[in-house]
Structure formats: C-alpha cells, structure tokens
C-alpha cells in the first residue's frame, strides 16, 4: 500500500506547477476533509474503476502516461486488485458505509484510507488520507 501511495504521489508530481501551487495553498490555508456523502450501496462499489482525472480546486488534470491504465477492482469477497503507476497490488478492503470511506490493506499489511466523495454507477470520486493529497479529488470511471 506504501507503493500505492508513493505511486499516487509520483503521479501528482507531474501536475503543472500552477496546479501544485493551488494544491499547496489549499493545504496550507483551507480545508482538510470534505464533508462526506451520506449513504452508499456496497454493490455500487463492486466494479472495476479506471483512473480518469485529478481535480484540484475545481481544475482537472489528466493522469500521466504511467497512470493511463491505472484501476481499482473491488470484489464482493472484500478483496481488491489495483494498478497504480503500472504496478499491480492485491489485498483486502473494508467499505465503511457509515464513515463513507474505504480502507485497503495490501499483502504487506500496509493500509490506505480513501474517503468517498461521490459514488454513482459510473463515477467514483475519492480523496486519499495522505497529507499531501488531501485536497486532491481522484476521479474514476467504471468499466461498465
């Protein structure tokens, strides 16, 4: 999971400087976590989610070349497969519906928490519980 978070950070590093500055100003002067959306159906999460875009202060930034094929697949048996900057990882996840977050634990026992900003049949928006990334929305599209 460290790899996942490292890779996410690497991906973000390719965002143009203006975007980075925007995100830094957000980190320094504005908010931490977004108020979480309310109730999510587990079935909606069970999908293969492909990385679509990053959104910082309302501006969209595309993933870099390495991240083009990135995805997160959530299975009904609470296992997941993810590809982050080309590297695949497996593990288990907990979908905390009351807290509106997912905790993913990889094979090494490392965990990554992601807050669900919105979840529809076709779109998943997450913010990751990593200091440098808390102001960055990560948008995914479903494969179906």
């Amino acid at each position: 999971m460290n790899t996942i978070s490292k890779n996410l950070k690497l991906g973000i590093a390719t965002i143009p400087i203006t975007g980075l500055l925007n995100s830094l100003s957000l980190l320094l002067f504005t908010m931490g976590l977004t108020t979480h959306a309310q109730q999510f159906e587990t079935n909606r999460l069970l999908n293969n989610w492909y990385l679509d875009t990053y959104v910082i202060s309302g501006k969209k930034y595309p993933p870099n070349k390495k991240e083009k094929e990135d995805f997160m697949l959530f299975n009904a048996d609470m296992s997941f497969i993810s590809k982050s900057a080309g590297k695949q990882e497996n593990g288990i996840y907990i979908f905390n519906k009351n807290g509106a977050y997912i905790i993913m634990t990889d094979e090494n026992g490392d965990t990554l928490k992601a807050y669900i900003i919105s979840l529809t049949k076709k779109h998943l928006v997450l913010t990751f519980d990593i200091d440098e990334m808390s102001a960055i929305e990560v948008h995914y599209n479903s494969s179906i």
Binding site: T30, I94, N96, K97, N98, G99
Partner: protein, 350 residues
Amino acid sequence: MKKISTFLVVLFCCARCFSQTTIALKTIPFEIKHQNFYIEKVLDDSHDKYIGVMEDNSGKKVGILLKHGTAETIRSFMETALPKKSNGIPIYLRINNLKIESAQTSIDKHTARVYIALTFYSAKGEELYKISHYEDQVFPDSDVQNIHETHEQRIRAALEYSLWGFINSKNADLPNHTIKNGNRSKASFEPYLPLGKWFNIVSFKRMPDTYNEGWEVAYTGFLDSEKEFIIPFEIAYGQSRAKSNLVQKRGYSSVNSYSLGFGLNGYAKIATGIYLDLGLNVPMGLEVLRDLENKKISNFLIGLGAHQGVKIIPWKDFGIIIGAGLFQRFQTSKIINRNFGFELELGINF
C-alpha cells in the same frame, strides 16, 4: 444561614446535573450480509456517565450523552447491521470506553474524534476479540460549527469499523469471509489518550550579545503532546542594532537589520508546563547601513539560526509564559557574520 447555603449547594449541584445534551444516532439502513452471528447483548463498562463534554454558547461546559443510553444505542445499531437470526451465533459485546471530543489541532484546523474500545465475547463468556479505534475528522476553522452535529456519524463509523475488525479477525471464524490471500486485520488495542491542547503564544524576546542589541516579536502555535516531539508553527519579526563601536570600526555610522524568520522549532515536554525549546530557522531580511558620509547602503540578509532553551507555561488556558536560552546565528551581514548570545522571553498564552 446554614440552611440557605445548603440549599444553594444543592441547587448548584442540580443545575450541574441538568447541564447535559444528547446525541441520537441516525438510523441508516445498512446491513452486513452473509454473517453467521448477531449481537445478543451490549454491556456498558465505561466509567464516565458522559461520553464527552462540549461548551454551549455561553462557554458553559455541557455533558454529552447518547439519547437512549450508550448500551441501548449500540445494541440498536448492531441489530440494524446484523439482524437476529434463529440459527445465528449470539455474541456479547462489552463497551470498555466511548469518548467523543474535539480540539484545535493546527493553526487553522480542528480535529473531532471518537474513541471506542469494545470487547466481543462468546455466549460462554470467552473473550473473542478486543479492539480500540479512533475515528478522526479534520475541520477547517470555517466549518467548526458542524463538529457537534457530525459526532453521531463518527460514532456510527467507529462502530462499523469495530464490527468489520471483529468479522475479519480469526476468532470470528466466518466461512463467508475467507480472504484469498490470507491477510486478515489484526486486533489492535490502545488506551485512550485525549487530544492535546492547542497553545497560542505571543511573545517578546530580548537577544543581547557582544555586538548587537536585538529583539523579536513572535507568534507560536503548537499542539501539546506528552510523548511526541512537538513541532510548532512560528512566525517572528525581529530587529537588531549593532553596538556603535563595532559599526564605526567597519566604516559605518549606523546599521539596522530587519528580518522575517521562517523555520521549525521543536519542543520536548519534560514536565507539566515545562518544555525544552530547540529551534532552527532561516532568517531573511534587509540590513540598512549608513556610511560615515551618511550614504545609505542596503544589504540582503540571509542566514541560519539556532537556539536552545527552556520555556515555562505555568497556566494552561491563559497566562504568562517565560523562557530563556542561547542562540547562534550565521548571516550575510556586513558588520558581523557570526552571532552568539542569550535570549530572554516573556509572553502570554491564550
């Protein structure tokens, strides 16, 4: 007279008893499916009557309770998640602790938090699983008013987290949750530690040394911690004036330097109210010199500074702070590049 004072004491005690507010958990229809157990009974072992304390609009402390009592509220929540089945395994749940709190935790943010400690037992009384968990949420200062109304969501999230912990534990032994890669969450249990207190300090420092007379005004904000090294936020403005004989030796009639320092200080708490103060900073600014013909010369200042000292904060909420220490500074000054001295600090915390 004695009767009147007794009456007043009783009245005051009653008033304190009624200073309380309740939180009701929202009934969210969610169910953790395919489980072979249900929660038969919930017992409350927590020592405190209140699960938290908040301040009302007048600044008065108000105790917080769960609307239907802690045990009944949690039992009802568990029943929604895991409806009772005739062929299900009854599990008994003991609440070891449940706390809600909020505090300022950085210069512009507050943290709201739920701490929960639960133990799961079999019908025979065998301890199956013990878990403690902090459910945190960070709020910007502009959103602090939403903390109280969202406590209930964090309580629900903490309960659901604990339930998943139990389900994923080996002791739950649930055939429908065999994880393919064999990686299950481990039980974790840590005792409750309250959120640290945030200190705001405005202080004035005198910093005399062999060549200069200096002072500094600083704002320091930090989150108190009993164990961890404290990294405060600090912004300071200072001024120093070189002593005249040295200035003249260097060929100038006067010099003033203005610096804005950004850096990191670290505090190590050595006893209640006593902190070891270690700092490293990069002062940047301007040195304004006048030569013997009164011609003005400006010099860009940049350097590296360090200090070591002790800071004493006797009163937690509001009071005077005092500090003393040594400092060292290396900078691009035309008068003196190396500076060593001592500093005396006086300020207020609020």
